[in-house]
């Protein structure tokens, strides 16, 4: 996860509503927690959404609280959910898989939990902009993560609200649009993505800019099928070929010949190279 996390100091500074805050104090995980804590959310939900060790999340959480970026809120209308009560031992296997893949939706979660707490789903949608089913899609039901060192936070009656309001940048893209660039597996991750390079003065459509940045950020964790937008395990040569041709049209550097592509130029080239080698890999199978 450390690899795929790219924090642009400038953007961080811009995002910091509290001007006096020295943004360097924030670790990448702090930022993620901050992003997800945007609005009302219970701690257990937070730990479910973030693919990191619960202890680390707790640390980040306290850190943010100390800095005054997050406040606690007591909530009376929620109680511990069944799933939390029946929570098995801490499952780290699911966690580490999520960390390795850096895909946020891979965190180990019991899919039941989201639906068992109706009071939460509303805030969830409005805050992160992700429908409930998207959050739980593709998640292994291996058990809920526990927060062994943060006993106080196990109580979901504690809720938090981040002080800073963040702009949900890419949540607006429909599944159809996403499908033009990504396999369904990555839609959720994508919708949580905060583009930092958007530049209206470039000769690249905004939509393409967002997807280029996202794919580039996640290149190392994308499988050949992901890169071509195919479901995992596709072996149909004709399908693979068609997908490759589609991707070529989107990402071949010649598409932007003599266009002003700024910081995107090397990213487009890198993506195309990855797509080419993904195609070669799949062809060779």
């Amino acid at each position: 996860m450390k690899e795929s996390l790219h924090i642009n100091p400038e953007i961080v500074a811009r995002r910091c509503a509290v001007k006096s805050l020295d943004y360097r104090q924030l670790t990448p995980l702090d930022w993620i927690v901050l992003d997800f804590a945007d609005g009302l959310k219970s701690f257990s939900e937070l730990s479910r959404l973030i693919p990191a060790e619960p202890e680390d999340i707790a640390t980040a959480y306290y850190h943010l609280r100390l800095l005054g970026l997050i406040t606690w809120q007591s909530s009376n209308n929620t109680s511990r959910t069944g799933a939390e009560q029946n929570r098995p031992e801490t499952s780290r296997s699911g966690m580490s898989a999520g960390v390795g893949q850096s895909s946020l939706n891979r965190s180990s979660v019991n899919p039941g939990i989201a639906t068992q707490n109706p009071s939460r789903s509303g805030s969830n949608q409005s805050l992160v902009g992700v429908p409930q089913q998207s959050v739980t899609a593709g998640v292994s039901p291996s058990g809920i993560s526990q927060l062994p060192n943060a006993g106080a936070m196990r109580d979901s009656s504690l809720r938090m609200r981040s002080v800073i309001s963040l702009t949900p940048a890419v949540s607006g893209y429909s599944d159809e649009v996403c499908a033009q660039y990504l396999p369904p597996r990555l839609f959720t991750t994508f919708r949580r993505f905060q583009p930092t390079l958007l530049n209206a003065s470039l000769d690249i459509p905004t939509e393409a800019q967002v997807f280029i940045e996202f794919i580039h950020e996640n290149l190392s964790s994308m499988s050949p099928c992901d890169l071509l937008g195919l479901p995992e395990g596709t072996t149909d040569k004709a399908l693979i070929r068609q997908a490759y041709l589609n991707r070529t049209k989107q990402f071949h550097p010649d598409r932007y010949f003599r266009k002003n592509t700024g910081a995107f130029a090397p990213r487009i080239a890198a993506i195309f190279k990855a797509i080419s080698s993904a195609f070669a890999t799949l062809q060779a199978q």
Binding site: L245, T248, K249, P253, D254, F257, A269, K273, S277
Partner: protein, 598 residues
């Protein structure tokens, strides 16, 4: 204003220029009315450059100052055995340049090969500019697919010297496929068989929804129409030697005449069963009596002379199919490119090999330039409709322990691409590593072309095999290779761009560009001056007539006489266009004054 970009097929024997005008590619005919221009450059006694038809016409009488077939030499070093072969057969003088490169000599002046190509490119550019009436600088130049990096770079240099902005260098068979594929839009796999004047290329491509995907490409840079000519020349020389015991090869003028008639005979044999070669007074015998060549060559004789060359092309086709992982039956269409494919034997052999008749309605001389123009137009204008996925023509790699060639980017890899390999140090406390970047297909490092060499120093000392060094090859869409060496533990890295190293230094290229521009400017100045003098003459004539007919008062008559005198002097020895034009203006003013006075 519409932007134009040239598509230039810079051939061994003939070159061709095309542009896309209002969405349609057109071939532009030169001032002599031909759609192809001979790739021949000569310097006349006056020092004037002669290019194309003009150069070809005087080649016999000015053999040592007429340069042709430079494409066979471009980007090579003087020590190349192929080059040494050429030196033996070519009538013009070839000398060694300052960087092991090749220079040709015309009228005691040395020219690098990119300069020669630049003259041809400049001529083609002029042809297009005359047609369109605007200035054009953007161009795509085609090269044989099998050209290596140095040859491609030398071609880019030629474009630079000619004042062109080379958008890209593309492969000739690929260009032909683009021209073919934009007319025949269905999804298909095609083979482009390109037998040109000096080189042979075969490429297998798939065309699908505007994407041209090169599956494999291979060829031979020393197999083309000129080899067919040479077979015929050898045959004639041998027969002549048998008959008269005289070796014509020692006589450059006789060889030049033989070359021209052999080429003509070859072309005629594409349409006729036999042809006559008639060269009177080819040389004199020991007693000074004139000797002639007067013989008939039949198609069968000629085919027997060259059958092995044709078989060689088919062997290469087999390799191309294998590399593309397809068989003859997967090929939907065969496209023939290059003048040599007009030869019936070649057409028969290709049809037999691919089990199908080659595509008709394609002009083998023009299709490459058309494809280049379509690609150039696509690149510079919005809405690129087709995308070209080309491949690396040769293996790229580095020299490793034991003098072996370690391939990092194999040939036929779609570009742009990135490949990397991790190496380790071979002895204890090794702190630097010599990296030799090579291109070629031989197993021994020394037999491949050396693209670049650099030392990666600052490696962390450690026991042999303990330090991991990643060598990364990065090929961009223009085929330019970047090499990065990186110590994986310390992240210390060294980055080198390989392909910007041609046989010429940037300063030399700059100087040559300037020389070329100066020459062209002087040429233009001469032309402008001539034009100005013509106008002056006309004005002088009017004034003289007026002076003779009108009865002018004495002071005015004196003034007019003086003006006429000065005008006549200037016509005899014109200095600058500005002065001549000023004189013309003065005279015209005088004429209108006199006319008003009456």
């Amino acid at each position: 204003m519409t932007e134009y970009a040239l598509g230039i097929d810079l051939g061994t024997t003939n070159s061709c220029v095309s542009i896309v005008e209002q969405g349609k590619p057109i071939i532009i005919a030169n001032s002599a009315g031909y759609k192809t221009t001979p790739s021949i450059v000569a310097i006349a006694e006056s020092g004037k450059r002669l290019i194309g038809q003009l150069a070809k016409r005087q080649a016999i009488t000015n053999a040592t100052n007429t340069v042709y077939s430079t494409k066979r030499l471009i980007g090579r070093t003087i020590h190349d055995p192929e080059v040494q072969n050429c030196i033996a057969t070519l009538p013009y003088e070839i000398v060694e340049g300052p960087h092991d490169d090749i220079r040709v000599v015309m009228r005691d002046k040395q020219y690098s090969l990119p300069e020669i190509s630049a003259m041809i490119l400049g001529e083609l550019r002029q042809v297009a500019e005359n047609y369109l009436g605007t200035s054009i600088t953007d161009a795509i130049i085609t090269v044989p697919a099998y050209f290596n990096d140095a040859q491609r770079q030398a071609t880019i240099d030629a474009g630079t010297i000619a004042g062109l902005n080379v958008l890209r260098i593309i492969n000739e068979p690929t260009a032909a496929a683009i021209a073919y594929g934009t007319q025949n839009k269905k999804r298909q796999t095609i083979a482009v068989f390109d037998l040109g004047g000096g080189t042979f290329d075969i490429s297998i491509l798939s065309i699908d929804d505007g994407i041209f995907n090169v599956l494999s490409t291979t060829g031979d840079t020393f197999l083309g129409g000129e080899d067919f000519d040479n077979r015929l020349i050898e045959y004639l020389v041998l027969n002549f030697a048998r008959e008269h015991d005289i070796d014509l090869r020692e006589d450059p003028m006789a060889m030049q005449r033989l070359k021209i008639s052999a080429e003509k005979a070859k072309c005629e044999l594409s349409e006729m069963k036999s042809t006559e070669i008639n060269l009177p007074f080819i040389c004199t015998d020991a007693q000074g009596a004139p000797l002639h060549i007067n013989t008939t060559v039949t198609l069968e004789q000629f085919e027997n002379l060259v059958i092995d060359l044709v078989k060689r092309t088919l062997k290469i086709c087999q390799v191309a199919l294998m590399n593309a992982n397809v068989t003859q039956n997967d090929i939907d269409e065969v496209v023939l490119v290059g003048g040599m494919t007009r030869m019936p034997l070649v057409q028969r052999a290709v049809a037999e090999f691919f089990h199908k008749q080659p595509a008709k309605n394609i002009n083998p001389d023009e299709v490459v330039a058309v494809g280049a123009a379509i690609q150039a137009d696509g690149l510079i204008h919005q809405g690129q409709k087709h995308i070209l996925l080309d491949v690396t023509p040769l293996d790229l790699g580095i020299a490793v322990h034991g003098g072996k060639f370690h391939v990092i980017t194999p040939k036929n890899t779609t570009i742009p691409c990135t490949n990397s390999v991790v190496f380790t140090t071979s002895f204890d406390n090794q702190t630097s590593l010599r990296i030799v970047v090579l291109q070629g297909e031989q197993q021994q490092a020394a037999e491949n072309q050396r693209l670049a060499e650099f030392t990666f120093s600052g490696i962390r000392p450690g026991p042999a095999g303990s330090v991991d060094i990643q060598i990364k090859f990065d090929v961009d869409p223009d085929g330019i290779v970047n090499v990065t060496a990186k110590d994986l533990q310390t992240q210390h890295e060294h980055f080198v761009t390989v392909s910007r190293s041609s046989n010429l230094t940037p300063e030399e290229i700059e100087q040559m560009t300037k020389d070329n521009a100066d020459y062209l400017a002087a040429e233009k100045m001469n032309a402008d001056l001539k034009q100005a003098v013509e106008y002056l003459k006309l004005s002088l004539k009017s004034l003289r007539d007026l002076n003779a007919t009108a009865n002018l008062p004495a002071p005015i008559a004196n003034f007019t006489r003086n003006l006429l005198q000065r005008g006549d002097d200037l016509v005899k020895s014109p200095d600058t266009v500005v002065n001549v034009n000023r004189m013309t203006d003065d005279i015209n003013n005088a004429i209108s004054l006199i006319n008003e006075g009456q």
